[in-house]
């Protein structure tokens, strides 16, 4: 009898509290995993940036030494400057993607297949895209060699020239990124409220005026997403650089993401502390965008709840 009694009690306790406890049971596996592999490492990395460490021998606390060295490091500035170039020129993917989306938003024979083929580059690995473009740029065997000859730049190697290497990589990076923005904008155009467009047309709005005042505001969501993913993509640019130039010539096409990797994990030595300092700088830059994104989501949440 007593046993039954206590069992009954336990069930009622569980029934009373399960709505409070359940979320934590559902959250636990994901949250624990995410904390160990993503959240904690951020803080550990920031911590390591105050040490001198080769990954094996005991680490030595050096305070701000790594950051002070960064301020004097010519290659750090080159990488930072290249990151800025990435941010600016990578943004071209947004208007080009929008333009293409407007061009393709028609109903004609075969348009579905044509759209799919336009999305195509986004699905392919950046390693493959990087390899293709590296080969395109080859001064002797490459695809653009005939064009270079035409304008008198025979044997000119885009990726071996310190002034052009970064632009060459960004151009290759734009290829999948434009496809990404195109996908976002085509979906956006699809979701536009047709009545507003018709009302605008009734009022005599046409062409650019219609686009700017009526269409573009409705594409807000797509534009926001396109900008966010493009900024993140620009700051994360690692694959393309690793494949196409490995930061060369002489570090002139380096970006922070690749420079960090080079310092911490390559033949140039295992400078974990210094690498972490570079990563921390990159993280700080990225944090502005992340906070902006979260702020927007927070605003939407509050609107939803009211």
């Amino acid at each position: 009898m007593e046993l039954n009694n206590s069992k009954a009690k336990r069930i009622t306790w569980w029934q009373k509290n399960q709505v409070k406890i359940s979320p934590w049971i559902f959250l636990a596996p994901g949250l624990i995993f995410f904390s160990i592999y993503v959240i904690a490492p951020i803080f550990v990395s920031i911590g390591i940036s105050f040490y001198q460490w080769d990954g094996l021998s005991p680490s030595i606390y050096v305070g701000l030494q790594n950051y002070i060295e960064l301020l004097d490091d010519e290659y750090f500035y080159i990488s930072l400057w290249n990151n800025l170039k990435w941010l600016i020129f990578f943004m071209l993917a947004v208007p080009i993607g929008l333009g293409l989306a407007i061009f393709l938003n028609q109903i004609v024979f075969g348009i579905r297949l044509i759209k799919s083929l336009f999305f195509f580059p986004f699905v392919i690995s950046q390693v493959v895209i990087g390899l293709i473009f590296t080969w395109f740029y080859q001064p002797n065997y490459g695809v653009i060699a005939p064009f270079l000859n035409l304008i008198g730049l025979e044997g000119f190697s885009i990726l071996a020239n310190e002034n052009t290497a970064t632009y060459g990589i960004i151009f290759a990076g734009l290829y999948p990124q434009i496809a990404y923005c195109l996908i976002l904008y085509l979906t956006g155009l699809n979701n536009i409220n047709p009545e507003q467009i018709e009302a605008g047309r009734m009022d005599g709005a046409k062409g650019f005026h219609l686009f700017w005042n009526i269409v573009l505001p409705q594409l807000r969501h797509a534009t926001f997403l396109a900008i966010v993913v493009t900024v993140i993509g620009a700051l994360r640019s690692f694959d393309m650089v690793a494949i196409m130039t490995q930061g060369g010539p002489y570090g002139y096409s380096n970006v922070l993401a690749y420079y960090m990797f080079e310092q911490a994990l390559s033949e140039y030595g295992y400078r974990m502390g210094y690498g972490s300092a570079i990563a921390t700088v990159l993280f700080t830059i990225m944090m502005f965008y992340i906070l902006f994104f979260i702020y927007r989501m927070y605003r939407n949440e509050r609107e939803d709840n009211n």
């Binding site: 359940s22 994901g30 951020i42 990954g55 493959v128 699809n190 990563a279 989501m297």
Partner: protein
Amino acid sequence: MFPTPIHQRPIVNQYIYKIFLPISLIIWLIPIFGILMTSIRGLGDITAGNMWGTPSEFLLFSNLYDVFTNTPMIKYTLNSFKVTIPTMLGAVALSCMTGFALANYKFKTNLIIFFIFIAGNFVPFQILMIPVRDLTFKIGLYNTITGLVLFHVAFQTGFCTLFMRNFIKALPQELIEAARMDGASEFRIFWKIILPLTRPAIAALCVLIFTFIWNDYFWATVLIQGDHAMPITAGLKSLNGQWITAYHLLSTGSIVAAIPPVIMFFLMQKHFIAGLTLGATKG
């Protein structure tokens, strides 16, 4: 509809559009045509600089044979599947639960936890690299597929949670309330009501994660050394070093690496796009 449907335009414009459409597609796909054509060629064409003319020999199958027998390409491809599929299943399973918890329950730290998942999803990989590599070493999983999968699952849970939570939040709440009134346990609600309804979201996440992980290069280089566990992206890069100017083999290898995500994309395009736009598509 914007822009004005082409069939409402003058006939001349319609013709211009129909001519420009395929031309623009061809220009857009030049890089793809480039590798397709080159994968057919032999070394003779490459050294002669014949990149765009008709191939002098049709050697696609011989190139494929070369790539698969003289390099660890089969191994790389298998490794990629071994990394990609468990990651896909793991991340989707974890995020169904986290997404459900964050969408369905009100508690103080709900939004904070949600935002932590979002923020973590956007951080640069470099800030995680050293500690994750270190941790993988310490638990004896460096240079193993399991080590790579564990990290991928954890990281992808961020994005998947964002997606799942928003999806479940948009489901009709009355269903859940009604089930609770009937005395269904929370687990039953999750299993019997929520999971069946999230099928489209699960499909979208599966395609997306498949593509992301298949194409990952950074973590494959950081956590793997040596052919036994190397996925195809890193494998292709290392072969690139050996092939130097053997562009016909490089192209063939690239095509092999690109085929699985491309097939996935064409089969599940609707889900893929729904995932990318964070569920902004209707229907």
